[in-house]
């Protein structure tokens, strides 16, 4: 079996090892059941966020008058919130903090149960964390893996080698396993516009892309054989692209599109799907130590610590930060 050069640890075993009995796994139901008292209260303040009817994220009730906090980059289309008591309510985005990837939603409801924030420093490495869902046992459990630290934003890339040409920046080469390849860009395409910005030179194209993050999708208008064409291209992490590490869901599981560029992230080993991020994560006292902000890798989930989130909630509630962009 040929080994992939970029994954010298990874082997895709089409394994004949039988899946172990569920009861001996860390995340077995019997283990999660031990956490029922931990999540019973915070679960009531946890909501499911639906976008066009599809489960997009989790959310946290931060204001009794119908204020719900969630992960901004997962929102699109028509948004609804499903509460613990089963009600499904239409929601409006009333504020977005792009730096933190947080959005504040408003639903028509009153006297909603607000979560209890933890008032102490984030728990140390090895501490239990529970992610409530809309049920009696946690959605998922884990431990703190690394103390809170800055997670730098990463450089985005379309995945093309560009040269300046008479009509504008010309595509010379498409990088393998890139958003450009997936979108069907071809050599000799002349890129004329990125979203609403016309680009006349390679330099202005590069500058325009730099204003974005990996995981975002941009509209690319190009000329192919003189004819205009519009495609949507997903930007990827330029380092992952260079190492051939893109599109590896088969080994890493599905990851959040926005999974880097956080002012502070508490890393934990809880297994989460991208649409299970955006909600609260609690300590054994049931206090919210953070908001799960991303499924970052095969081994890591990130939470924004409570101390970072709370001032942002204040700003979003007071209207200091309004909807920075319409949900894409």
């Amino acid at each position: 079996m040929r080994l992939r050069p970029s994954c010298w640890l990874a082997v895709l075993l089409l394994s004949t090892v039988a899946q172990a009995a569920d009861v001996t796994e860390r995340d077995a139901y019997v283990v999660k059941n031990a956490f029922r008292d931990v999540v019973s209260t915070p679960a009531q303040s946890t909501v499911r966020i639906l976008c066009d009817g599809r489960r997009a994220a989790l959310g946290t009730i931060v204001g009794a008058e119908g204020l719900i906090l969630t992960k901004a980059s997962e929102l699109s289309g028509s948004i609804a919130c499903q509460l613990f008591d089963g009600r499904r309510l239409e929601a409006k985005v009333i504020g977005v903090s792009e730096d933190d990837d947080l959005a504040l939603l408003k639903v028509k409801a009153d006297h909603l149960p607000v979560i209890h924030w933890s008032e102490v420093a984030p728990p140390p490495v090895g501490s239990w964390l529970a992610t409530p869902g809309l049920e009696t046992v946690p959605l998922s459990i884990g431990v703190v893996s690394v103390a809170a630290r800055v997670v730098e934003p990463r450089m985005p890339a379309l995945g093309v080698i560009i040269e300046d040409g008479d009509k504008g920046p010309v595509v010379r080469e498409i990088l393998p396993r890139s958003g450009a390849e997936k979108a069907g860009l071809k050599p000799n395409d002349v890129i004329t516009q990125i979203d609403d910005k016309k680009v006349a030179t390679r330099n202005s194209l590069v500058q325009s892309i730099r204003g974005h993050r990996p995981g975002e999708t941009v509209r690319v208008i190009l000329l192919r054989d003189g004819k205009p064409l519009t495609v949507e291209v997903e930007l990827l992490d330029v380092t992952e692209l260079a190492n051939g590490e893109t599109f590896q869901e088969d080994v890493n599981g599905r990851l959040s599109k926005r999974r880097t560029g956080f002012p502070l992230a508490l890393q934990h080993d809880t297994v989460l799907q991208p649409n299970q991020c955006g909600g609260p994560v609690v300590d054994l006292d049931g206090n919210v130590v953070g908001i799960n902000i991303a499924r970052a890798s095969r081994v890591a989930s990130y939470a924004l610590p409570a101390a970072v989130v709370r001032p942002v909630v204040e700003k979003l509630t007071s209207g200091e930060l309004v909807a920075a962009k319409a949900a894409n």
Binding site: M1, Q19, A20, V23, A34, G126, Q267, V299
Partner: protein, 349 residues
């Protein structure tokens, strides 16, 4: 290490690893040095019998038991991080664990690559010290290294070979993606799902860069070394500690043996089979032979100092080498005697 530089796994380049059965007998070799410095062992006793029962393979049933587990987990983590190291050997980025006061480090064979390679050992605080690779068991993916600088170093004890049980709780650390300044070794807690002679399989998620890092029991003793993963998040394989215990002397001596099933050593030449000498008709393009400078018409007379007869005997000698091994090749080019250094490649059997 320069505190500002970010180390990321470069992926690539590293060869082989996999596991095959090896007859293992438990040897009670003590690695822990007693006497001054024994206090540096990170072993953390489990006081309560109830807690021990849970960690040995039970599960918590209430909040009180979760708190007990948590208190112990926090304490254990502060200690085991100290002996987890990052390892850089050439282009290869991985992890390791210090298992003796004088600085022996367990890692994966595919991280070390080959014996006698210079390595950078990165401590959790970012300090870099020099190290060297010693022996490897490629079949089981076990590798040994040693820190070249004087200790005493904080170390983890090795658990007895066959103690670990399915359902047992365990802790894995390492440097996923390679050492990152400002990020301590990444802790994951899980349980043993499968255990056999080839691997301990757990649900402690691993990824590139974690190779060579430790799998520890809840007392902080090494029960495995991170090796490889499968498709599912619950498929994470660790080299059993028995692999190190039973072959300790060979590893210390710097022996390299074994190979991955299905992968063998590769030279990359075509020869003249009827000739009485190992005459090379041509080195294959891109092959280890071509890279080393072997040319058409060369007659190979010795490999690793061992005399080569005909082409078949050359094939036999190469067959005894290991992928990644650097060997001296002596050959006749016309009248001239030429000596080359060659790195053995790999090919599927």
């Amino acid at each position: 290490m320069n505190g500002n530089s970010k180390r990321k796994s470069s992926g690539g380049h590293t060869p082989l690893w996999r596991v095959v059965a090896a007859g293992i007998c438990v040897t009670a070799v003590g690695f822990v040095l007693c006497g001054p410095g024994w206090a540096d062992a990170v072993t953390t006793a489990i006081e309560s019998p109830r807690l021990r029962k849970i960690f040995d393979g039970g599960q918590p049933s209430n909040l009180d038991e979760l708190r007990q587990m948590e208190q112990h987990q926090r304490q254990l983590c502060t200690k085991v991080l100290a002996c987890t190291v990052g390892i850089v050997v050439g282009p290869s980025h991985g992890s390791g664990v210090i298992i003796s006061e004088d600085g022996y480090v367990l890692t994966a064979a595919h991280v070390a690559g080959a014996p006698n390679r210079k390595a950078s050992i990165i401590l959790p605080d970012g300090r870099e010290v020099a190290g060297v690779s010693l022996g490897l068991n490629r079949t089981l993916d076990a590798g040994l290294m040693k820190i070249s600088a004087a200790g005493p170093w904080p170390y983890a004890e090795l658990a007895p070979s066959d103690e670990a049980k399915v359902g047992q709780w365990c802790l894995a650390t390492g440097h996923p993606g390679g050492f990152e300044a400002g990020r301590t070794p990444v802790v994951r807690i899980g349980r043993i799902l499968v255990k056999d002679k080839f691997a301990v399989t757990t649900d402690c998620a691993l990824v590139g860069g974690d190779s060579g890092g430790p799998l520890l029991d809840m007392e902080g003793r090494v029960i495995g070394i991170n090796s490889r993963i499968g498709r599912f998040l619950t498929m994470n394989m660790h080299v059993p500690v028995a692999a190190y215990r039973e072959s300790w002397e060979r590893l210390v001596k710097g022996e390299a043996w074994g190979s991955l099933p299905g992968i063998g050593p590769y030279l990359g030449v075509q020869g003249e089979p009827d000739s009485k000498v190992a005459k090379i008709s041509r080195p294959l393009p891109g092959s280890p032979a071509e890279k080393a400078g072997i040319q058409s018409g060369d007659v190979i007379v010795a490999i690793k100092g061992q005399t080569v007869g005909d082409f078949a005997s050359l094939q036999n000698l190469i067959g005894e080498c290991q992928p990644g091994e650097k060997v001296t090749v002596e050959l006749l080019r016309g009248e001239q005697r030429v000596t080359l250094e060659l790195e053995i490649g790999e090919r599927e059997r």
